[in-house]
């Protein structure tokens, strides 16, 4: 240990925790304010001076949201797009990552770097060509196009995480199984998949949260109301609800809740992935 007096250590502790609590309050304030606003009445949203806590707790905002298209149409759309694309990405990425991890070819390294390079290209530079291509094909506003675009976009990221996981699984096990007469499919099914479940889970969670929240592809490629996702719906509420911030806040809370629950349940996974730099893309 460092040579420090007891008093100094106590002061250090107070300063550290004090600053962290201060940071946490700032970080959570916008969310807390929205949560409080969501329980206000329409008139309480517009009192002067504005207050943090609702003077009278009500579900008025939530009722208004339940009457909108958010829950019957937009949220199911988000769930279908995000879940399907996430599962597809994890399956495709798992196969490719396993191939890259277990088999060294000339050009395999270059191929991997190329895929990593794709991760550096943000979606925005492809927005215009996606829009043009998709409208020519006549598949604007479909689940199909969102699933394809999302899968293509998340594939490099999934591949990177899963390859790191596969690299960490010792190869001896597979070789032993092979010598005992297992086929590749059997090896994959009985050894690799059970051992890499934690890795598949990490990839699944991170990609799902990202895609549920995705906005740019959704707002540009989905024009029909019945195809809109929750984020596009919420974006439109900003104009249609105007100062009905109690409803807007309620909608925000409803939309963020599923991912918040997933995050809180799997928070250790998220932190580990983050600290190890899995999100370096």
């Amino acid at each position: 240990m460092l040579i420090r007096s007891r008093r100094q250590i106590i002061i250090d502790n107070i300063v550290t925790h004090g600053l962290l609590i201060f940071f946490c309050l700032i970080m959570i304030f916008p969310v807390a304010l929205s949560l409080m606003t969501s329980f206000k009445t329409k008139t309480d949203v517009m009192i002067l001076p504005p207050r943090f806590f609702p003077p009278e707790w009500t579900l008025e905002g939530y009722i208004k949201v339940f009457q909108s298209d958010l829950i019957p149409i937009y949220m199911p759309n988000s769930a279908i797009n995000a879940l399907t694309a996430t599962i597809l990405t994890v399956i495709l990425a798992a196969f490719a990552a396993y191939g890259f991890s277990r088999f060294k070819f000339k050009g395999s390294r270059a191929l991997q770097l190329g895929i990593l390079g794709l991760m550096m290209i943000p979606g925005i530079t492809n927005l215009v060509s996606y829009y043009k291509l998709v409208s020519q094909l006549g598949i604007l506003s479909t689940h199909l196009i969102m699933i394809l675009v999302y899968t293509g976009f998340e594939l490099p990221f999934g591949l990177l995480i899963l390859k790191n996981f596969f690299d960490a699984i010792p190869i001896d096990l597979e070789e032993a199984a092979k010598i005992d007469g297992c086929s590749t499919t059997q090896v994959l099914w009985h050894i690799i998949i059970p051992l890499s479940l934690p890795g598949l889970f990490v990839a699944f969670l991170l990609i799902l949260v990202y895609l549920w929240n995705e906005f740019l592809f959704a707002v540009t490629l989905l024009s029909a109301n019945e195809a809109r996702t929750a984020m596009v719906g919420l974006y439109d509420f900003q104009t249609s609800f105007e100062v009905a911030y109690h409803a807007l806040s309620a909608a925000s809370i409803i939309v963020l809740l599923p991912m918040l629950i997933i995050f809180i349940l799997g928070r250790k996974t998220f932190f580990r992935a983050m600290m190890e730099g899995a999100l370096k893309g």
Binding site: M120, L133, L216
Partner: protein
């Protein structure tokens, strides 16, 4: 790692890898090439006609392009500085505390889990002209004008909101790096009478510097391409005061329907990103 031939042959490698490669070729590579094609022509009535460099010359002669470029610079630079600076302070604080670490991390992480649209909605509400809670505190200092209606104010809010949303990323990345710093190094240094700042710059900083560098490039890339949160908070306004290059691209295409010009801008942004991406991959391989 030596891989035996018992395990696999070339054929199964191709079977495993090709679905992803084909997918990426169709969904990522082809559209990227297509935006180059679009940038050299114009579409009228569904018909493409080649116009050479016309889109690019129009873009480069447009003052909007340069003003947006300057705004992108201001936005990205402030975003980068705050994310790295505050992120590092947070990581150092977190690495020093032994209790409640997970609780603090969970709270700091929340803005990363919510979407850009939700974040934008929350920040707009805080600074809403008459009923925004934070705006009410600021009113006496800025003559009851919404801070979001001031050009500098809107830019500051957009930067603050973006930093708020992204901070956990750099903080936790740095925390991971800090945990690789061997504690044994500090004791002899302390015995030699080194001060805390000495120890930080001479030991900690040297070890975490590669991570800081990587995080800086990633944050720069995100800053240059930031769009969703800006759209949800200010939509590029008031006027054009938060219209970065990315917002300009979005507006050119979807507000004014000038897809050729937008494609040219996409190509310019693509080249900027590729350059940064190459630097990133170089650094990644070195570390």
């Amino acid at each position: 790692m030596q891989v035996s031939n018992i395990l696999m042959n070339r054929k199964s490698f191709i079977w495993l890898v090709s679905p992803s490669i084909i997918f990426l070729l169709i969904i990522q590579i082809y559209p990227s090439l297509y935006s180059f094609y679009l940038s050299f022509g114009k579409i009228k009535g569904g018909q493409y006609s080649f116009t050479g460099l016309k889109n690019f010359t129009r873009l480069l002669n447009n003052s909007d392009f340069y003003e947006s470029l300057a705004r992108t610079g201001i936005f990205t630079f402030s975003f980068l500085l705050a994310c790295i600076g505050i992120g590092l302070i947070l990581a150092l604080l977190l690495s020093r505390c032994t209790k409640f670490t997970t609780l603090y991390m969970t709270i700091i992480f929340v803005p990363m889990v919510l979407s850009e649209v939700v974040g934008g909605t929350m920040w707009r509400w805080m600074f809403q002209q008459s009923f925004g809670l934070v705006q009410a505190f600021l009113n006496p200092f800025i003559n009851n004008v919404s801070i979001l209606s001031k050009p500098w104010g809107a830019m500051a809010i957009v930067i603050a909101a973006s930093v708020w949303k992204q901070l956990a990323f750099t903080a936790l990345l740095f925390l991971g790096a800090l945990q690789t710093v061997p504690k044994e190094l500090f004791e002899p240094a302390a015995l030699d009478g080194a001060t805390r700042s000495d120890m930080f710059w001479k030991i900690t900083w040297v070890i975490i510097r590669p991570t800081v560098l990587l995080a800086s490039i990633m944050t720069t890339i995100r800053g240059i391409n930031a769009l969703g949160l800006i759209l949800a908070t200010t939509q590029g306004g008031p006027g054009a005061s938060t219209m970065t290059e990315a917002v300009l691209l979005y507006r050119t295409a979807w507000q004014f329907g000038r897809f050729g010009d937008a494609a040219a801008l996409s190509v310019v942004m693509f080249l900027i990103n590729i350059t940064l991406g190459i630097v990133y991959i170089r650094l990644m391989r070195e570390s």
